[in-house]
Symmetry: D2
Subunit: 325 residues, 4 copies
Amino acid sequence: MRPEELDRTDPEGAIAAAAARVSNWGRWGEDDVLGTMNFLDDETRRAAAGLVRTGRSFSLSQSFDMDGPQRGWRRRTNPVHTMLDTGTDAVAGIQGFPHGLGGADDVIAMPLQCSTQWDGLGHIFDHGHAWNGRPADRVVTSEGDRITGIETAADVICGRGVLLDVGRVIGESGELPDGFAITEAHLAQTVAAQGSTSEIRRGDIVVVRTGQLSRARRDGWGEYAGGPAPGLSFTTADWLHDTEIAAIATDTWGFEVRPNEFDVAFQPLHQVAIPNIGLFIGEMWDPDALAAACHDDGHYDFFLTAAPIRITGAVGSPVNPVAVR
Amino acid sequence: MRPEELDRTDPEGAIAAAAARVSNWGRWGEDDVLGTMNFLDDETRRAAAGLVRTGRSFSLSQSFDMDGPQRGWRRRTNPVHTMLDTGTDAVAGIQGFPHGLGGADDVIAMPLQCSTQWDGLGHIFDHGHAWNGRPADRVVTSEGDRITGIETAADVICGRGVLLDVGRVIGESGELPDGFAITEAHLAQTVAAQGSTSEIRRGDIVVVRTGQLSRARRDGWGEYAGGPAPGLSFTTADWLHDTEIAAIATDTWGFEVRPNEFDVAFQPLHQVAIPNIGLFIGEMWDPDALAAACHDDGHYDFFLTAAPIRITGAVGSPVNPVAVR
Amino acid sequence: MRPEELDRTDPEGAIAAAAARVSNWGRWGEDDVLGTMNFLDDETRRAAAGLVRTGRSFSLSQSFDMDGPQRGWRRRTNPVHTMLDTGTDAVAGIQGFPHGLGGADDVIAMPLQCSTQWDGLGHIFDHGHAWNGRPADRVVTSEGDRITGIETAADVICGRGVLLDVGRVIGESGELPDGFAITEAHLAQTVAAQGSTSEIRRGDIVVVRTGQLSRARRDGWGEYAGGPAPGLSFTTADWLHDTEIAAIATDTWGFEVRPNEFDVAFQPLHQVAIPNIGLFIGEMWDPDALAAACHDDGHYDFFLTAAPIRITGAVGSPVNPVAVR
Amino acid sequence: MRPEELDRTDPEGAIAAAAARVSNWGRWGEDDVLGTMNFLDDETRRAAAGLVRTGRSFSLSQSFDMDGPQRGWRRRTNPVHTMLDTGTDAVAGIQGFPHGLGGADDVIAMPLQCSTQWDGLGHIFDHGHAWNGRPADRVVTSEGDRITGIETAADVICGRGVLLDVGRVIGESGELPDGFAITEAHLAQTVAAQGSTSEIRRGDIVVVRTGQLSRARRDGWGEYAGGPAPGLSFTTADWLHDTEIAAIATDTWGFEVRPNEFDVAFQPLHQVAIPNIGLFIGEMWDPDALAAACHDDGHYDFFLTAAPIRITGAVGSPVNPVAVR
């Protein structure tokens, strides 16, 4: 779909049309819980191991702490990490352990999508339907996602990662401005500029760098999260589907461009991608150090493991994606 | 050290002697925060990628849910996962999103060591000293671990994993009994039985399967966690040091044998291993599916990524370790 | 209703019949959010202040800590209280405050019904209907109770309290056995034994002591909460309605007798009392010290303030009820 | 102390001098845990019950929800309230209860001082000393306040409340401007203007209305909490001591004037009042509805119950203070 074809006044129509074009419902059977992770098979993973050339590894995770981007929207706070036991206590001699042992221990309370994360397949619904056409109220209740909980993807998310540094190729000083909608043309232009190692293949985990995180790191989060940001255009829905990628992640809060490209809308590309394509979306990743290394030697693909925490029934999960190249 | 040399009445003396033998303080400079992770270098990691033969991946994580082993000891509960938004709400039409979008979102409150985890270097102290000789009260306060927080290891924990299925080699029906202390001799016997792929090398991440998890899965947790379990003998301290492994993990709550091997003691091997050796210890991992595959084809090494969540200042972290073989 | 009339095989029929007899739907208008708290008016409260004779005050709250009765049923844990700042940190000099100031601060994560509590009117539904006949899915969503949230009762819950020490009057050594169903006859017998100060009047807050807490305090909680306990018989539904009391509380986890009085049932009296009568129910109160004082001087009524924490949309709330007599 | 005597450059000297004048250490024995609550005896409480004239009750609590004033300072967030079970789930028929019963249940994660609260005696230290001269590191560790935890005051905090509506008497349109320091003279002027019912007596719980909450309610919280606000002047330390009040509360985040009255300082009056006087301080109360009623009939004293939640070891507690008049 070309951006100029978007009717800003009709998100519902555009979503319905896109969903009709890209739906993968039933593609992997009616019991499927993995969606596009089905593209990431053992052979793909085996081949991806061959991309490790130097053995250097990069975490693509942002920090989990009170300095994060959350501002309380829909009860999403930054993580609150507190200690059950501390070194100061140990030194004060109050812990009661024998033979000079001291300990520190901790707890956390956090939204599962407060920092670097995967959206699970139960995160977004389209007109009451979850991935594979299931009624949303049969899938996600107060007890969590009873069918497509993130634990179902605990084993599979490692394979070929490809960085598309759109910020560097299209932006200025490596950054796209807020509100910039990345189209299929921009993605193609990025692949072309980066060279053959960034060619997109079936089963890939694509990491899109917009540069917005670099800017936030420099200027502060302000009233983010949820505010203006560069991101994928709604019109990339077909690309997301046709490329048969396993997953895609960005360095922004919301993956798609904010504000969205309709007059009144909220994350319309999510509504197509998650319940209809069955696509795994990563948000708030940190590709900056990896991007520098890719730029240095011109290799943009790598072995990527991005294993969600095995929280039963979760519709999202913190993740520390590690790229090895 | 041989098990028969242990004086059950003097844990403090045994710990001091072992610490003197195995201390790595200063080995990587006074500013070091990585301990034995220094053994896991790029070359080790590059070579490990070559272990991927079929591309099949295995999560070594237990579940994070209310069915876990915690019983409230020192305020360690099982994780409490709750929903901010659900599919039932979406279908009820109360979410207020436009164009038919519905969403589910969730939060979690949990001890960082409630299920599959890494102990960070700030987790245990020896007579008020943390890793590398630092005063514990300078390292871990109520604000968390200000020096060796788990975020310092966010990039590095991927490389060669080796499974030592002691439960299968030494135990009955694949399980060691509770209270069984795994000695250096047992480890050697396991390596010998499994063959050359399980030879231990510098920088390895060793996964010890005791079989206790298989038993708990069958019989329930009971009043675990913290109760009797098989685990490493205190006398393996030298082996842990001399092998120059990067990390070691077990399928039990506490890594070392429980009850401990002294008349009055609490986790004495931790006191040697974490602050003195600088060793990363994994607990409550689930090696069962991987072990079956290793047994099937006789290959016990694999590429392992076990990236902690990047929680600033954490002394431990949930992890979903993924083995690819 | 007499206990012998209960058909153990037909809880649904019994509930429907009781609901038909005792329903207060519409009694205070269709917008009502206070249910039986409407009985507790200013004049009742004014008169209750006259019950203060010595000025001695009694907290009727159990503790909020990890030693509580919860065992994880439906994700109800005991409260997890952790520190953000401590005295050990202050003394270690790491807090960064000027002029010698040090501080301690704390957080809590807890089910709202983990210890001494009020059930709000949104806590229980009868065949999809909440208090006053509202559809349950219009009342309580993931955002909480949007109509009868506990905050609506923030001002009103103080007035005349009356202790009915059924444990002392009917039980042995002050305790009713687990599984003992307190009937209307037992309540009448208790009033008669205690004398005129325990006569029940419109707008009263009735505190029923079963003695089970005294037993738990002595013997430990065991696998409680939710297990066998003395409590109100299903057959007291009419009494609860006809007395026009504002609220009733017990010293047990579940208010009504456990196991319930039907072959297959779960808290059937709740299903009548909360959505149909609109009754406020308190659970896990601690009346023991108050009961001793009442017994000493024979006065069983007092001024009681039991103000829920003003948590917007909560269907229950921790409370520290304070009786002054 | 007169405000003009304050040396803005020497908070530490001013604090030491004030502490020397007002210290109550040892006044109630070395084991004391109640501080100024010792002034609130049964006779005081008995007399206070006589203040109830109409029986109308007023909650002085602000809301506990995500719209609160917290902005993450020192990990203080607004409360996160989530549901374990909902009405939408009940109606969707997924709860598994028998006989048509449905339920809703909830949890909360919150700082104990996120909204209407008491500061416990373990909240603030003066040069490493807690209330009554105890070493702070013997009192408050990661396990909480082991001596003066808020549970020690669970029974006592009800008695005579007096509203000093300084905002109305001294301010414009009922509001003091941010940064306004309320001095002893302002308090005296308020008492004089309000008349004899606001005379301060031993054992009183004084509620000071600055009007800042009214302003925040109208204009929003902005970047509060912790920002500029009216409040008690440091120079009221002697008044707080000499009046022998049991407690004092304000409608602001921090009780004392913000910014504080020294060039570099943080809550210096707390440092005098809590550890030295042993005074209970309430913060973020909502006196507005009560103030209107007091103004209407000229009666400024009332029966006040402000019972903290009985959280073992807490250094602060949410509270729903209820005034009956």
